[in-house]
Symmetry: C2
Subunit: 310 residues, 2 copies
């Protein structure tokens, strides 16, 4: 029996105590705890790592505080476009979806693509059609609407800026709104999932690293399960999640060593700000980021921890 573990993140970036009220802080920590509970209770019942990362990521998507699912930011045209992906480390099967609208849980759509289609990645209207055929829950625009996100978008529109941000964006602040989970189940299988609402005021159908297998998400029982959050472009160029796996498989690094090398050494060389969470099949877990903060949490038999700052 493996030492089951669940790790989650709710985005990284310039998250500082001085920008945060005590109420906001406790709401974020509560959201992280709920997601840990949603995923870990399944692991305890003997569910798979895939089920656990799915449940934890859905919980974060349903929470309006995090930029994914319900809490997705507004793109330049005022719509919320979402991306997600999931990978099963026991089969190397994967599912990913980009540029979907009005899907309640994009990670569930990614899961259905993995489970029920012959494809890995579906996109846009075609993905919505697949979702509809598979009874994936949709929600009206109102469900995704929050005054807070709307004002954030209006502010970005007026200034002509575009943000990768998680919440209120001040000039010079970078917040990368993404959620994700990685898990090891008692059968020794690992899995990873990632979901995002993208960049506030984003244009041109930009796709970040979240739906890209190898960049934002990767899982392989032989090495690790990784979910990333950060400035998507350098994370794509660095093939970030799979790089951790290769450093473990080909160079013999431990999970922690490989994640440290990618996040502290390799990503900064191409201005890659952000972080990642990871587990391996031995029950090791790590949360590494080179930004000021990362919403994160870990749960295993011994502990449940949530944190925001360094």
């Amino acid at each position: 029996m493996s030492k089951q573990v669940l790790v989650i993140h709710g985005g990284a970036g310039t998250i500082r105590t001085q920008d945060m009220t005590a109420e906001m802080e406790s709401a974020y920590l509560k959201g992280l705890e709920e997601a840990l509970l949603a995923g870990y209770s399944l692991l305890e019942k003997g569910s798979s790592a895939v089920d656990a990362v799915l449940a934890a990521t859905k919980s974060l998507e349903d929470n309006i505080l995090f930029n994914a699912g319900r809490g997705s930011v507004f793109a330049a045209d005022g719509a919320q476009e979402m991306d997600a992906s999931i990978m099963d480390g026991s089969t190397l099967k994967a599912g990913a979806v980009s540029a979907v609208r009005n899907i309640r849980n994009p990670v569930e759509l990614a899961y259905m693509i993995m489970a029920k289609s012959q494809h890995v990645m579906l996109n846009g209207k075609g993905a919505a059609e697949f979702a509809s055929l598979n009874n994936i829950q949709t929600e009206s625009d109102e469900y995704f609407y929050s005054q807070f996100r709307y004002e954030q978008w209006k502010q970005m529109q007026e200034s002509g800026e575009m943000a990768l941000d998680h919440n209120v964006v001040l000039r010079g602040n970078k917040k990368f709104g993404t959620v994700g989970a990685v898990a090891l189940d008692k059968f020794g299988n690992i899995a990873a999932a990632t979901s995002t609402g993208g960049m506030t005021n984003k244009q041109f159908g930009r796709v970040g690293d979240s739906p890209i297998i190898g960049a934002g998400t990767y899982a392989n029982n032989k090495t690790c399960a990784i979910s990333c959050t950060g400035h998507g472009e350098p994370f794509i160029r660095a093939v970030t999640a799979y790089d951790v796996s290769c450093l473990m498989e080909y160079k013999g690094l431990s999970l922690q060593e490989a994640m440290d090398m990618v996040v502290y050494e390799k990503l900064p060389k191409i201005e890659g700000e952000g972080g990642m969470i990871g587990v391996d099949a031995l029950g090791n877990a790590a949360m590494v980021f080179n930004s000021e903060g990362m919403y994160r949490g870990v749960r295993n038999e011994e502990k449940m921890e949530t944190a925001i700052y360094k």
Copy 2:
């Protein structure tokens, strides 16, 4: 001064002598020679590897025989949706585009995304908007129309099949229509580009490996430049192009050894049929495929070779 070299492919799969007329064979070989000439003449003039792979890939896109650009296959809705990507091994900059229509040269749009935007990957209508702002050439549906592709699509529609195919598809035959190029220039820089018209009768906005940095395309002066062609789903799950780079960087394998391991050992384990072309910064070049054939060609100071079968 480096030993400049250009390698191209025009797709892989069940390509057999008995399915081919002498006229078709010579038309394909002529198309490959034209693409080699388009790219290599630039290398001889001192242009960059990026310029060379761009020119060679555009030449293949303009040729109606290959499933990319002009020769793109019909998706389920009767439209031609195209994907492409490009990566510069000297800067690790990359550009990618998915699900665009009516763009004459998707690889040029990928290049413009790399050169002129702060993003790596743009998608669908947003990508078209970016293309229009950057004066990327579009063409009417007629330009992309060929009786041959249309009949291929009607045939698939009637049978309810979907094909990853390059040309006439008989049951049990698999042909992966993609084009691509990799090059080393005299300054020691390498680059890779890939472009595709996707699967005949494809549904649900399926995205294959061609626009995925790390899967279909990767370039890094430290290791290699790779362009893949094959069944996109396993190529995404195996993070194929970047895996070659990691085997070279972390395990010390040569370009040929790394490509052989990925194509002959790793991909078949997940039913990954297809192939890839690669160069490294020392001027080594390789073309490896586990399917019956791959349209391919190589040009350096000593030779120009084109081939189809094993």
